[in-house]
């Protein structure tokens, strides 16, 4: 068992940004990516496992997505790095980080958790923001406010937030030309203040495109159904980026 203290990655997003779907994709639908180190994500408790599992139900055409399931309090996930062959000590996996969807509904992670975090993932629903100006304004406002709340390194010159911040544009499967789009420009298209705020506050940030199901869900009998088996895209990229930053920090 690992005795060293692990730092958490905080997952944060406005309501409807796709936090639960993102977590469900990490736990239930991860697929191996060629030439990338695989990861596995496990819920830390039965209640959390049940919550994630309830996010989707089997459907004759694939998987039906079920919304409106409240997360359990203090839900936590564990991220393991896994390998195909045993390592030096005959082990094939190692726990690398915790993932905490911090007060997902309130959108206000506790200061202690943030101070201890090794990284923050901020989710923004790209399709929803593109479809509605009201939703876009609300999300941009949430985003800039959230960045301002991140803990700053005492005495540091701006940008003073040293914790790596991964901004994930979710629902990208609903946008036809998502593959061709540059993630940073896409974020900026929702308002120049998004990037300005990022640059002003965060010393280390990156923008990612994420699709939790790989394909946009289709309406079937009153349900949103992902046809076939979900194949998440880009969901591990922000975790890899934060873990790489963490490793570099430790090496330094």
């Amino acid at each position: 068992m690992h005795n060293e203290r692990r730092r958490s990655i905080i997952l944060w997003g406005p309501p409807g940004s796709g936090k639960s779907l993102y977590l469900a994709s990490l736990v239930m639908w991860l697929t191996r990516e060629p030439n990338e180190r695989p990861f596995a994500v496990l819920p830390a408790s039965d209640a959390t496992a049940a919550w994630v599992a309830r996010r989707s139900i089997p459907h004759p055409d694939g998987v039906a997505l079920v919304g409106g399931v409240a997360p359990p309090t203090d839900s936590l996930f564990r991220i393991y790095s896994i390998s195909g062959t045993p390592g030096e000590l005959g082990r094939r996996s190692a726990l690398v980080a915790d993932l905490a969807p911090s007060e997902a509904t309130a959108g206000d992670p506790s200061p202690t958790r943030l101070a201890d975090a090794s990284g923050v993932i901020l989710l923004l629903p790209a399709a929803t923001m593109a479809a509605s100006a009201e939703a876009r304004d609300a999300c941009v406002s949430w985003f800039t406010t959230t960045l301002a709340r991140l803990p700053e390194q005492a005495g540091a010159a701006p940008p003073a937030v040293s914790v790596p911040v991964a901004v994930c544009l979710t629902q990208t499967d609903e946008v036809p030309d998502a593959v061709r789009r540059d993630a940073t420009e896409w974020l900026e298209s929702f308002g120049a203040e998004t990037l300005r705020a990022l640059r002003a506050h965060c010393a280390r940030f990156a923008v990612f495109k994420v699709s939790s199901t790989g394909r946009a869900p289709r309406p079937r009998g009153g349900l949103d159904v992902v046809i076939g088996t979900p194949e998440p895209r880009g969901v591990l990229a922000p975790l890899r980026w934060i873990l790489a930053n963490q490793a570099a920090e430790m090496a330094a």
């Binding site: 690992h2 639908w29 991860l30 596995a40 039965d46 599992a53 393991y80 005959g90 996996s93 726990l95």
Partner: protein, 500 residues
């Protein structure tokens, strides 16, 4: 007689019985093949040739015997007659043995935690949590998953996730560090090409069945995972010829052996490093202490011999004869209240006074130890008042360790061992252990001595303390002390199985 070992599946059992008995925990949902596995182990018991693992029901309760017999019968009558399997309602543990021909080569215990598969169905109930907590102490876990038939009902991934989380939760761990084998069972029901593929590449098969994510859960929770395919029944009609069973259980034995070898290597390295560090740090002091102890011990032995030759020493004066007292040691003060045994016979004491005044000292203790009177040595040592940090205390405790160990052995060989003396040994050793610096070599013989006094069964020592003492002796002791600790540990475990 040779004592059975539980590791080293393909080597003969070694004498000495210094290896611990290992436990495999059998886990699986209803219909996962637990009964088939037990039945196969039972059926293998009828063979007299080949390498095989069998179940030993010699001391099993009737319900467990009935379970194994009915499971074995069900395997043999599969496809011919539906045979009811009489499953026990409670968890049970049975020994399993490995034979090469008629020779017994290894053994382990098999714990069937949930014969009916009820806990797996509801792994979060308080009862399930209590039972699943056994995973914490198991040396290996065998998790059975029923291989889905082509076009049949797939495995319930959520059920597997819940069981995994429950096992980790019950173990209060983020991973299970012991070897875990996940076996796809009932593969004989598959088309022969599929079955062969599963035997050839069980991990790929399991990954294909579960998907990357769920396979990742297993790898994450069980870093030492290995996948197997298993047919408890085999492919021959009307007979149970398990396929993959021996390979499966052998893997646990191989892993344990590798584990022990790695631990031995680590211990040797640690001991060597500790010795080097200790020598570097304390070479001058150690040399002084060793010299001091040697001088004191030599002086004590010499004094004892001298006394035995010259006592009593007489001198004449004016027609009267008076005994002359022997010189007293300058090192110590007597405190009879601290003595190991204060119930000194007054007659003996009086006669001692008339012969010579016995003054306890390190030297007298060394002398007593040399002449084989370990109890007298301890009595002398416990009468001393020395500073805990003094060189004399170090020398005294070193002699105390040897005396306590020999004393315990002497006492325990008597038909009616004295509880008082055993208790005094434990008390003296406990006080010396409390004084010793953590990790110092004197801890090993002191711990060994305390364990020796406790293991006879005449005292009600805490079991944790005895185990800890033996662990210290194994970690810090000399090879001879380690051997003795292993013997004590084997006696403590009380493995009744002996091989001619």
């Amino acid at each position: 007689m040779r004592r059975l070992t539980s590791s080293g599946s393909r080597r003969a059992v070694s004498p000495g019985g210094d290896e611990r008995r290992r436990t495999i925990l059998l886990w699986g949902a209803a219909e996962s093949g637990k009964s088939g596995l037990v039945g196969a182990l039972r059926s293998e018991g009828t063979k007299t040739v080949g390498d095989r693992w069998t179940v030993d029901l010699g001391e099993a309760s009737p319900d467990v015997v009935a379970y194994a017999d009915s499971a074995s019968l069900a395997l043999r009558l599969r496809g011919v007659k539906e045979t009811a399997i009489r499953r026990p309602e409670r968890a049970f543990t049975i020994p399993v043995r490995r034979y090469a021909g008629r020779a017994l080569t290894a053994a382990a215990d098999l714990t069937v935690l949930d014969p009916c598969g009820e806990l797996a169905a509801e792994p979060t109930t308080p009862a399930a949590r209590r039972a699943i907590a056994a995973a914490r102490t198991a040396d290996g876990i065998l998790w059975l998953l029923e291989t889905p038939l082509p076009g049949g009902r797939p495995l319930d991934r959520f059920a597997i996730l819940r069981q995994l989380v429950a096992i980790l939760d019950a173990a209060s761990a983020t991973e299970i560090a012991v070897p875990v084998a996940v076996a796809l069972t009932k593969v004989d029901r598959l088309p022969s090409a599929d079955m062969k593929q599963l035997f050839d590449a069980p991990e790929q098969g399991l990954r294909a069945i579960l998907g990357d994510a769920a396979f990742g859960w297993l790898l994450a929770a069980f870093p030492r995972l290995r996948c197997f395919a298993l047919s408890a029944a085999g492919t021959v009609r009307n007979v149970a010829r398990p396929v993959g069973l021996t390979t499966l259980v052998d893997w646990f034995a191989d892993e344990w052996r590798r584990e022990e070898e790695a631990a031995d290597t680590a211990r040797t390295r640690a001991r060597r490093s500790a010795r080097v560090a200790r020598v570097r740090r304390r070479a001058p002091l150690a040399a002084t202490l060793t010299a001091a102890a040697a001088v004191v011990a030599f002086a004590g032995v010499a004094a004892a011999r001298l006394l035995s030759q010259r006592s009593p020493t007489w001198t004449s004066s004016a027609g009267t004869v008076v005994p002359q007292a022997t010189p007293t040691s300058p090192v110590v003060r007597v405190d009879s209240s601290q003595a190991v045994s204060t119930r000194t016979d007054s007659t003996k004491a009086d006669s001692a006074k008339t012969d010579s005044v016995h003054v306890p000292s390190i030297a007298s203790a060394a002398a007593a130890l040399e002449r084989g009177d370990a109890i007298a040595a301890m009595r002398d040592l416990s009468a001393l008042r020395l500073s805990d940090s003094s060189a004399q205390r170090y020398a005294a405790d070193s002699i105390l360790a040897a005396a306590a160990l020999r004393g315990a052995e002497d006492i325990l060989t008597l038909p009616n061992p004295s509880i008082d003396v055993l208790e005094s040994i434990v008390a003296a050793a406990t006080a010396a252990i409390a004084r010793a610096h953590p990790g110092t070599p004197v801890l090993a013989p002191l711990s060994l001595a305390r364990a020796a006094a406790c293991i006879g069964g005449h005292l009600s020592c805490p079991a944790d303390q005895v185990r800890e003492d033996l662990a210290w002796a194994l970690l810090l002791g000399t090879p001879a002390e380690q051997d003795q600790a292993r013997r004590f540990r084997a006696a403590l475990v009380g493995d009744p199985v002996r091989v001619p």
